[in-house]
Amino acid sequence: MLRATAVLLTKIITGGNAVWVDCPPEADRLRVYFANHGSHLDFATLWASLPSNMRQRTRPVAARDYWGRSALMRGIAVGMFNSLLISRETITRKDNPIEQMAAAMRDGNSLILFPEGTRSLDGVIAAFKPGLYHLAQKVPEAELVPVYLQNLNRILPKGYLLPIPLISTVVFGPPMQLNEGEKKGDFLNRTKMALLNLAPQPEH
């Protein structure tokens, strides 16, 4: 009930048309959706744009230092959107975000991840943090799916409280995997380029 409300609300505010480019919307795959990050509405929009049978097995990954600050925010992130809250700062052996993500995937959940680690101010995609690489090493069977989120940084930019109701598009690109012996820097570059390739090209 809470989840259905979350999906409906998100669709009303952000539109969120899903476009599948060389990436079948199939529910039986274990996937990591990695997307560009420019807005608080990113994870909700990506999650709501999935077909419902896939959505049930997909959890957005969110920062605990932000979304765990109050009971209300935690309720929105975890209760409504089924998020997995991880630590961005203090990483200890006990509180290891990669291990927590891998554990969620072993339970059969696909994940939504923002490898830039924080929201971009101007829509330019920043360098990827190494988390995606470590996760790909831990769960090599997972498909890594680049997802380009269009217009969300215009709908609710960083630093603003209220959204404007534009139409967003969620573009799913061809699944990738970590190549054998691929270096961390090469892998992070390759995945970032795959994401950039999904962005609409300027006309000129």
């Binding site: 048309n17 101010l121 101007d122 217009n151 215009r154 930019p157 603003y160 209220l162 404007i164 109701p165 534009l166 139409i167 006309e203």
Partner: protein, 318 residues
């Protein structure tokens, strides 16, 4: 109070004709889909049929809007404006610094304009967007301090309000005009406007498909042809003449006004196409099956609705 006079014979004839034409289109489409052989013909017929289906929905929405007085119509046309403005701004380059002014456009200016229709406050209705919104938008953006494309950004927002909100709000406002001896009630004025404009669109499309050869604006809209424009305009004007009993016009007046509406509608469509080309998009959205977005359907009304409103208001009200 409804804007439609349901006891009048004219109303009955109009409703029968509208649903007759739609049924005929659906039946023709069905037989075409059976007889279409080549892939290209099949695609054309499929597009034609999805357009017909959308027309059923659009006609029913319009009749629902007219079933109430201007209060109900203000709500429904307000939603239409909202969807159109949403498509327009989505396709328009904006910057972070525009966020506040866009928020105000969507959630204050747009509802206020339709509240003015609801309230029939004509004086404010006529100047709110051209005067007050014109001043307010740059005031809100200048505070953010971003000078990149400053004039262009504000102009684009103001244009969007004029085209998607101000112009379209003249359609429900027609219901508040005091015109004597309307045989179908004020709804007849709206039906006349919408039928001539949209009829001209559809008839231009049909004439163009049947005998279109010479493109009229090849860089803007390659499918629009001289044959389509001439044939469509003349037949839409005849449609206007047939429908003159819905309005205070005699047959000649109906012909001349229909002709002006067709021209304005044609240029409205062409201008919105030019904006689409500039943005590098084919359609404004995907809302209406076979037509593209809301904006693709109402582009020809944007430029003709205020003109029609003022012609009726100036020459035909008591």
């Amino acid at each position: 109070m409804s804007a439609v006079d349901y006891h009048s014979d004219v109303t009955r004839h109009v409703l029968w004709s509208i649903f007759g034409v739609l049924s005929a289109a659906s039946i023709t489409g069905y037989f075409l889909s059976i007889s279409a052989k080549s892939e290209r013909a099949k695609a054309t017929v499929a597009n034609l049929n999805s357009r017909t289906k959308s027309w059923w929905v659009m006609v029913i929405v319009l009749l629902c809007a007219l079933a109430f007085d201007q209060k109900g119509s203000a709500l429904i046309f307000g939603i239409i404006s909202f969807l159109a403005f949403r498509e327009y701004i989505t396709a328009t380059p904006t910057r972070r610094a525009d966020h506040l002014s866009l928020f105000v456009c969507f959630f204050l200016i747009l509802p206020f304009q339709y509240w003015l229709v609801y309230d029939t406050w004509y004086g404010m209705f006529a100047i709110m967007i051209p005067v007050y919104a014109f001043v307010l938008i740059p005031v809100l953006t200048v505070l953010a301090g971003d000078t990149t494309e400053f004039l262009a950004r504000n102009a684009r927002t103001q244009w969007g309000l004029m085209v998607c909100v101000y112009s379209i709000s003249h359609i429900p406002m027609l219901e508040t005009l005091d015109v004597k001896n309307l045989k179908m009630g004020n709804a007849g004025l709206i039906l006349f406007l919408v039928a001539v404009i949209q009829g001209s669109d559809v008839l231009q499309y049909i004439w163009g498909k049947l005998m279109g050869k010479h493109p009229i604006a090849p860089t803007l809209s390659p499918k629009k042809t001289i044959e389509g424009f001439v044939g469509g305009t003349i037949s839409a004007c005849l449609l206007g003449v047939i429908m003159h009993r819905l309005t205070p016009f005699n047959m000649w007046q109906a012909f001349v006004i229909s002709f002006a509406l067709c021209c304005l509608g044609f240029f409205g469509g062409l201008i919105m196409s030019a904006i689409k080309r500039e943005r590098g998009i084919k359609d404004w959205g995907t809302l209406i099956e076979g037509h593209g977005g809301m904006m693709d359907r109402i582009d020809s009304l944007c430029f003709s609705a205020p003109f029609f409103f003022h012609v009726v208001r100036y020459f035909f009200t008591s």
